[in-house]
């Protein structure tokens, strides 16, 4: 059966903008950070994904049904979030399509936002943010912004695929990954990554509300975290703890 994935555009999409991706992953860092940015910048829904690979659900907001995987934006920025865990079986096709769509829109920089699980997260007061870039120039740019690079290791899941397809399709891409809990929602890590996004994009977003609402977010995010954890297990996400061998 052919894969059915469509991105339905509800409004004109700006060309040459930045594109943030906050798909559910460890600590829901990307999802929480990107949702916060969407809220603070008052971005509007400009497109959504329709696919047989996603669960058959709609999300109700203010009584109106919405697709769970949506793209928000204004003239400078596009931001993707998914309010449901993306099934491991569909992750390749979903991310491939998302990056392809970004390329069609001539996205100037794809920023994948996520977490980097650390076992001693409870003992870290201010999570550190690491960066990954798809080109030497982007790595240089990250270093100039004083973001430490992940030099060696594995990445697994949506962030990994975004980078892979960005490389494949020639879309400039970076990942910003904050130290986070593996399977507990982590608004503090999300706040840390929002601050680093500002360094790169110049778009300042206040994180005080995000930190104030931290406990509320953790309580609200339990169900999507649980489902994301189930999908991460299928993707063998714990492989991120492994050491790569390249002799």
């Amino acid at each position: 059966m052919a894969e059915i994935i469509r991105i339905i555009e509800k409004k004109p999409i700006p060309f040459g903008s930045l594109m943030l991706n906050g798909l559910p992953d460890v600590g829901l860092v990307g999802l929480i950070a990107t949702s916060h940015i969407i809220g603070e910048l008052d971005l509007n829904e400009v497109a959504y994904m329709d696919s047989d690979l996603l669960p058959p659900i709609v999300v109700l907001h203010e009584g109106l049904p919405h697709a769970p995987l949506r793209i928000f934006g204004d003239s400078n920025m596009l931001a993707t979030i998914s309010e449901t865990a993306i099934p491991a079986t569909g992750i390749y096709a979903v991310v491939r399509h998302l990056v392809k769509w970004g390329k069609e829109k001539n996205v100037k920089l794809m920023i994948s936002v996520g977490g980097l699980p650390v076992p001693n997260r409870q003992d870290i007061a201010e999570p550190k943010v690491y960066g990954v870039g798809t080109t030497p120039e982007l790595i240089k740019m990250l270093k100039e912004k004083e973001i430490e690079i992940v030099k060696e290791g594995f990445m697994v899941g949506p962030q990994a695929l975004i980078l892979r397809y960005c490389m494949e399709q020639g879309v400039p891409g970076i990942a910003l990954l904050a130290q986070s809990f593996f399977n507990y929602p982590d608004p503090e890590a999300a706040a840390a990554v929002v601050k680093e996004i500002a360094k790169i994009t110049g778009i300042q977003v206040d994180v005080s509300k995000l930190l104030e609402k931290g406990e509320e977010i953790r309580l609200k995010a339990r169900d999507i975290m649980k489902r994301t954890q189930m999908e991460m297990a299928k993707m063998r996400k714990t492989q991120e703890y492994d050491l790569p061998l390249y002799v």
């Binding site: 809990f181 399977n183 507990y184 406990e215 309580l219 339990r222």
Partner: protein, 148 residues
């Protein structure tokens, strides 16, 4: 490559590990129809997110307890191989607080029971609570020792 040839080239441990992974997938697919909500309206309690890590010397259970009143957190053994975690919330939360108007219910506590997969010494249990995360350390019981 034929399946038998492929299997022969892998180590015994790879094959065992794959069987376990397949078994895990099968068990989780069986459990799917029994999925339940993470809240209990009758008991006015919420099930926290939990994790169990089995290490060589201890089992570490963690639970995410946002809004928990620190001095009400309790971890009690309910059997030889299970513990119950309870904690009162600093303030009750309702569905309404999350913008959900088609359900009724107010929750004032966290509650969950967890089965510990290996024998542990419940009396030596150690607990710490930091950044809203409860951490329960349970030393593993040593059943027997093989002389080398």
């Amino acid at each position: 490559m034929a399946e038998s040839e492929r299997r022969r080239r892998r180590s015994f441990f790879d094959i065992v590990s794959e069987y376990f992974e397949e078994l895990e997938d099968w068990v989780s697919s069986l459990m799917e129809p029994f999925e339940r909500p993470s809240w209990n309206e009758r008991e006015c309690s919420i099930e926290p997110l939990c994790n169990i890590f089995v290490g060589p010397t201890e089992v570490v259970v963690t639970a995410d307890l946002p809004y928990a009143e620190t001095n009400t957190i309790k971890v009690e053994p309910v059997s030889e191989d299970a513990i119950e975690i309870t904690a009162k919330l600093r303030r009750p939360v309702s569905f309404h607080d999350f913008g959900i108007t088609h359900r009724r219910g107010e929750f004032s506590a966290f509650k969950c029971q967890l089965r510990i997969p290996v024998p542990v010494d419940m009396e030596e249990m150690e607990i710490r609570f930091k950044r809203g995360i409860l951490e329960v350390h349970l030393p593993r019981k040593r059943g027997y020792r093989i002389k080398v």
